[in-house]
Each structure stands twice: as C-alpha cells, then as structure tokens.
C-alpha cells in the first residue's frame, strides 16, 4: 500500500471538522484533507432542522442545515478537499491514518498533524439497565430524528420519551407536529437538563406532561412495544413501589445523554479525561500525543454549536502552528476542577500562554446567585457572578494572556463555583 502525505488531516466534517479545516487553510496550510464517513458534510446539524443555531456567531437564529451550509460554502470557497463515505479505521501515535472507502479502497495517509473531530453519540438503552422485553420500537431520540428529518418516515404514533435533554424535547415537538401523540416526557432528575425555551416551546405548547423525578421501570411488548411503566423515584433515584403509571405506546425514545466518540483517539494512545470522556488537552487543543489535536463534541459535549465552532477555529490555528514547527516552552499550568465544577477544558495551559485562554466547564448542580472563581495558589485571577449556574448550560470564561504573568506551574489553577446567599 503506497502512503500519501498531508500536512493536516481532519477526521469528521461536522461543524468542528469544518471550522478547524477553515482556520488551518486561512493560516496558509495548502495540504489538508477532511475525511467524513457520511455521504455529505455537515454532521449532526443536517438532521437538526429546528432553529436556534448561530445566535452567538452570526447574531441571527439559523436552522441546523443553514448553519452547516455556511461552513460548507466557506470550505468550498477555500477549496478544502472533503472526502465523504470514508471511514477511518485507525490513527497511530505517529499520525498514520488508515481509512477505507468504496471508491478508493484501503489507504494509509501520513499526516503532519491530525485533528480529531468525530463528535459524540447517544447513550443507548443498554447503558441504562432498564428492565423489560427486547421488543421493537425503542430508539434513541437522535435516531428517530434522523428517520423523520433525513429519511422521511415516522418511527411510531404513540410515543413516550425518557430523558428531558434538548434532543428529547425537540423530538417531542417534532413527532407531535408530524401527527404522532406524545404521551409523556419522563425525567429521573428533579430538574430538566433541557433549555427553558425547549420546555416551553416543545412540551408546554403541545400540553405534553413532564414527569420530573420519574423513570421507566418496565417495558412490555412481544414483537413491537405495547406499553411502558413509569414510576416516581425517591431522592436517591430508586423507584417508589405503588407509584406506577402505565402508558400504552408503540415507541419509546431515549434522550439520556451523549458520549464523545473516542475509540480512534484511544487507539492512538490519547489520554482520556474521566470527567469529560474526551481527550486531555492543552490550551492549544493538543492531546497527550504530540501533533494530535481534538475539538468539538469529541473533546467534550457542548450545548451550543457556536461554542463548537469557536473552539474548533482555535484548534485549527493551533494545528497550523504545529506543522509550521512553532515550538513553545513546555512549562504547563495544570487546571483542576474545584467545588461545583466538572470537566474543565483545557486541562493544562502552556506558560506563558500565546493568547487569551478560554476555560469551559459544566456546573455540577444548580447554583443561584453564585460566582465562578478561578485562582492559583491563593491568588485570584478571575471572578464572575451569575444569577444561575445549571448543569444544562456550559460555562465559558476567557482569561487575558497577561493574567497568567508570574505563574510558574508549580501550583495548579483551580476553577470553582462559590455559592452566594440564597
């Protein structure tokens, strides 16, 4: 097998892959290639036909396909090659990418830098330990979204949704508008992780009840789903006997979380953070393996595509700097999660930072009138008050490069939420 060579190879042509490719090209990288396993670029945005995307980046509300098209058009303008219907089989630690397609067969490509932009996937039924039969009619919400919006058919007519994440809420409205009856949205937590906007416009507008602190405790059906049992849970999330409700339905949609898709990353020897399930990265989005970068939902699951794009532009610029051998001192300041904070990205910052550093994290609970505080060895670098922090909304703060002056990496940077008076 003859080996090809490219300066930067990008895996995935969703919003992360497209933005990183655009940034690298704009920095003058001539030799780059984007590989995409679907038949078209755009990633998950292709099936997200609802609007609300792009408010931060474009100051207008776009639908998913419209948002994706802007990046696709820009990539075409810049003549960025995107090879679709191509599946990457492996990435080696020395950046040899093995991929396969119907058109070109099996190929190996050596890359000066690799950008991982594979996105995430949905938690499946198997991860929930839900009891009951293995009948047809149980789908992840995103699978149902693909059926309805891209394939043009309805998975069922009487629907229960387990989980109140945004995809589940969006699908409650979508199925209703297409003529199905959505009987209930069931959430094990005492609060929804979805946006208020979606709770109002996807559930309340259509009188779909939201059962908080409830879960599915039985699934019945021989060939096709016939009914599900829903029970209230106690404060430790254990079902309470005697609270069972039966819903006759032919479809159960699961919207119970997203997991970054990191099999290729692990194969390349990239260290994975248990808090984000994505790669451990520096402020230039470089993973533990030199020359391999990660951005978008494969790095950590975002709520807004706007944030995916801005993060991925930075990753693309950093990969371009890497292939131009712009070496920097390798003194690292490590970042740790403090109270009320989970999964801060990046996990380490190169000192002194070449530019401003954006720290992103997820609050571990709901905190009202609290402050995000970033400090190092007793020195407070940043403080910002907010009326509310919720796990459903990622927090993102940018620190000026000069605010790291005087730090030598001997003590970690701590990000925490300081609770205010109720």
């Amino acid at each position: 097998m003859n080996r090809e060579h490219v300066d930067i190879l990008i895996i995935g042509a969703g919003p992360a892959g497209l933005a990183s490719a655009i940034a690298a090209r704009e920095d003058g990288i001539e030799s780059l290639l984007v590989l995409e396993r679907e038949s078209q670029p755009g990633g998950i945005l292709r099936q997200c036909i609802h609007n609300g995307f792009g408010l931060h980046r474009f100051s207008e509300e776009l639908t998913g396909p419209e948002y994706a098209q802007r990046d696709i058009d820009r990539a075409r303008e810049l003549k960025i090659p995107i090879e679709c219907d191509t599946t990457v089989l492996s990435v080696s630690p020395d950046r040899v990418v093995t991929c396969i397609s119907r058109e070109n067969g099996l190929r190996q490509i050596e890359a000066g830098a690799v950008i991982l932009a594979m996105g995430c996937r949905e938690r499946p039924r198997g991860a929930l330990c839900t009891p009951g039969t293995r009948c047809a009619g149980i789908y992840s919400a995103g699978t149902a979204q693909r059926f309805v919006n891209l394939e043009g058919f309805m998975p069922g007519q009487r629907v229960v949704i387990l989980g109140s994440g945004d995809i589940g809420l969006i699908m409650a409205r979508r199925m209703t508008l297409q003529g199905a009856k959505v009987l209930a949205c069931v959430e094990i937590m005492p609060y929804s992780s979805g946006l208020n906007r979606n709770i109002v416009q996807c559930l309340q507008d259509y009188d779909i009840p939201l059962y908080l602190s409830h879960t599915v405790t039985d699934i019945k059906g021989r060939e096709r789903l016939e009914s599900v049992t829903v029970s209230r849970v106690d404060e430790r999330r254990r079902p309470i006997p005697g609270t069972e409700m039966e819903f006759e339905c032919d479809t159960l949609l699961l919207s119970v979380g997203l997991i970054p898709e990191n099999e290729l990353s692990e194969g390349a020897g990239v260290s994975i953070s248990p808090a984000t399930s994505g790669a451990v990265v520096s402020d230039s989005f470089e993973t533990s393996v030199p020359g391999i970068f990660a951005c978008g939902n494969v790095l950590h699951v975002h709520d807004l595509v706007d944030h995916v794009s801005s993060e991925s532009f930075r990753a693309g610029h950093a990969a371009a700097a890497f292939v131009r051998s712009e070496k920097r001192e390798s003194v690292f300041l490590f970042v740790q999660d403090g109270e009320g904070v989970r999964g801060t990205v990046p996990q380490k910052i190169q000192l002194p930072p070449a530019q401003d550093v954006t720290l992103m994290f997820r609050p571990s609970g709901v905190f009202r009138n609290a402050s995000a505080v970033i400090s190092c060895g007793g020195k407070e670098l940043f403080r910002r008050k907010a009326m509310i922090f919720t796990p459903g909304e990622m927090a993102s703060y940018t620190l000026k490069a000069d605010s790291f002056a005087g730090l030598d990496g001997s003590e970690p940077l701590t990000v925490r939420i300081e609770k205010g008076a109720e």
Binding site: I49, T63, Q69, G152, Q178, N196, R197, I388, T390, G392
Partner: protein, 121 residues
C-alpha cells in the same frame, strides 16, 4: 385575568405573573428580573409567535427538503399550517432560501427551503 409565563430568554427561567384587563391588554408584569422578560411576557400574552420548521417530501430526492417559516408566525395557526404542510410536495432540485409556499395561511410569511436539495443521480 392573570396568566403565568416562564421566561425563555435565559437559563434563569423567571416565572412571571401577567395581569390582563377585560380587553386583553397587559396591565402589569411581575416576577421578571430584566426588561427582556417583560417584553417576552407581553408578547406571549397578547400574540404568541413561533418559528415553524418541518420537512417536505421531494420528488427526485430520497432525502426530504427541510423548510422554515421566514419569520415567526402566530402560535394558534400552527395546527392549520402543519395540516397544509403535510399535503405539500416539492420537486428537486431546490435552492437554499427558495420560496416553497408564499403567504402561508394568510400570515404574509413565506415558507422557505433551509438547505439546497439536489436531484438524485
């Protein structure tokens, strides 16, 4: 008459109480913590508006066409609009932004394509 409204502008999600007089005019808004909330509550109690997005089956394309209303439309018209959309068919190719149905249900708002849809080979 009083109406309870949950604000959708940000994650705080203020619960607002809106008082209306007999002519359905807003007399007062309570519980909002910013001006955006007040504006939203007044709109929501007088003429709530929603964007509608959907897909339309397309001839010469296995993938349906995604569409949206070019502006928000009155919420009470959603069932009527959806009924009309379910009967609609388009023929590929379609340009992004192309008007698929003008002046939908007398709203003055056009239904437009949100993606380019090439004809299948």
């Amino acid at each position: 008459m009083e109406q309870m409204i949950t604000c959708i502008n940000c994650p705080v999600g203020c619960r607002m109480k809106v008082t209306l007089n007999e002519a359905k005019e807003v007399v007062s808004v309570e519980g909002n913590t910013c001006p955006r909330g007040r504006k939203y509550a007044m709109q929501e109690c007088t003429l709530p508006l929603r964007m509608i997005t959907a897909v339309i089956p397309a001839e010469h394309s296995a993938t349906p066409l995604s569409v949206k209303t070019a502006a928000p439309v009155p919420k009470h018209l959603i069932p009527q609009i959806m009924k009309q959309l379910r009967q609609l068919r388009v023929s590929a190719p379609v340009q992004m932004g192309q008007v698929i149905l003008p002046d939908i249900c007398g709203t003055g708002v056009n239904l437009i394509a949100t993606r380019p849809l090439p004809a299948d080979q």
